[in-house]
Symmetry: C2
């Protein structure tokens, strides 16, 4: 098993079970167990809400009690808002998922417990877990529901396993960054055109105006397409008013 | 302004606007703007759903169009599933919030755009933003709704600003880690009691059995309370069967 098991403990509303399944699958998780669901199992409202994530519910294991649901797990984290007098290690979601990923890499089976909507996990559940996870919510407004808590844990799982680069400069289009020679040529064209238009005035400021323009063009992260567009812009502006049409072939 | 503005662009269902307000307030965010909500403004369904986060809706600015909503912002991130042919930097939520926090620290006003439920932001919206944010969801099941996307961005904001320690060993209870001398005394008590009970047999294994027990007690991260509990456990086991009652005062 290369992913954590998400165990819903005594969930009440089928809609939340379905939303939890969706949240899990959004981040590639598919291993759910359900302990004592209030409205029986399978739950038609859960199925309706899960929609495309119905396969998570189909594969979910129904368990009679929590010890049965976690019997094969080596490490279990209980999600709860407050430790409530239970002496146990408390992790942030980030640290808990990091810990879980390290354990899974060692071949351990791990699970996360999520409590019922209204009251959350009881101390009798929490004492069976190895550790506690607490989302650092606003203490003046801590209102995460079951599906939201599942979503945040699943997001952490996905975030820490994601190979998406933190920042892609020119993503999503068939372009490449402009090369220095292309920027140089664009800057030269612009300077020549502005020279013709009498832009560099007064003369004692001309040098600094040229530097400002060069610096501007160098820091714009232009693509090859941008450079072609700007060549056309300069050409059109220099030519002045005329009806739309193909550019002349003069440069 | 020390927090980002969340701009909901042409949101459709009031419930989602209310859920977005809750998600924001969960992580201490309260600055919302709403552009062209389908069902008018204020929206009673949004208010009902927001419940305790109604103050976020009360303070939200209603804007006629996107340029008006972002007019005072120095940097705007558009949340969208795919860049869809727009050439623009794409950040993960983590990197975008990191970037936003750095800009806010420099005194810049920043905002995040969230598109309508069904179709998401249009290219006409995205080209006005400075950068794109994409949640790294499962490509086979990318089903985040508006309120979930707001929740994940708000969570990232809270996560990166949280002062909660990644791991607290004995949180939530009035206890302290046991000191070495206390572990030493407990181990000595246990060894003595087991000696009496004939545990260390065969004799040639006694030394390694003692080491195993010492090592076990040393790695348990016991608290002062745990140590007292275990002293009582040893005492009771050693005494054998008797009816419940206060322990003798003999140690």
């Amino acid at each position: 098993m290369s992913e954590p098991v998400f165990i819903l403990v005594r969930p009440q509303m089928g809609e939340n079970i379905g939303a939890a399944a969706r949240a899990m699958l959004n981040f590639g998780l598919g291993s759910m167990r359900v302990v004592g669901p209030r409205d029986g199992w399978p739950n038609p409202r859960a199925v309706a809400m899960a929609s495309g994530a119905g396969r998570v519910l189909d594969a979910a294991a129904l368990c009679g009690n929590l010890p049965e649901a976690m019997a094969d797990l080596a490490h279990v984290y209980a999600t709860t808002a407050r430790p409530r007098g239970v002496t146990k290690a408390v992790f942030t979601p980030e640290a808990a998922i990091g810990d879980a990923r390290a354990r899974i890499a060692l071949g351990q089976k791990v699970g996360f417990l999520f409590g019922p909507e209204r009251a959350g996990l009881e101390n009798d559940d929490i004492i069976r877990a190895n550790a506690i996870v607490t989302v650092p919510v606003n203490p003046d407004f801590p209102s995460l529901n079951l599906a939201q808590c599942v979503l945040l844990m699943a997001y952490e799982w996905g975030r820490q396993g994601s190979e998406m680069p933190a920042r892609q400069l020119h993503a999503g289009a068939d372009v490449r960054p402009a090369r220095a020679a292309e920027i140089e040529a664009l800057a030269g064209r612009l300077e020549d055109s502005l020279e013709v238009s009498g832009f560099f005035w007064p003369e004692h400021k001309a040098a600094s105006m040229r530097m400002t323009l060069r610096n501007l063009l160098s820091r714009l992260d232009l693509t090859d397409t941008d450079v072609r567009t700007l060549h056309g812009v300069i050409r059109a502006l220099l030519r002045g008013p005329r009806p739309p049409g193909p550019p002349d072939r003069d440069g």
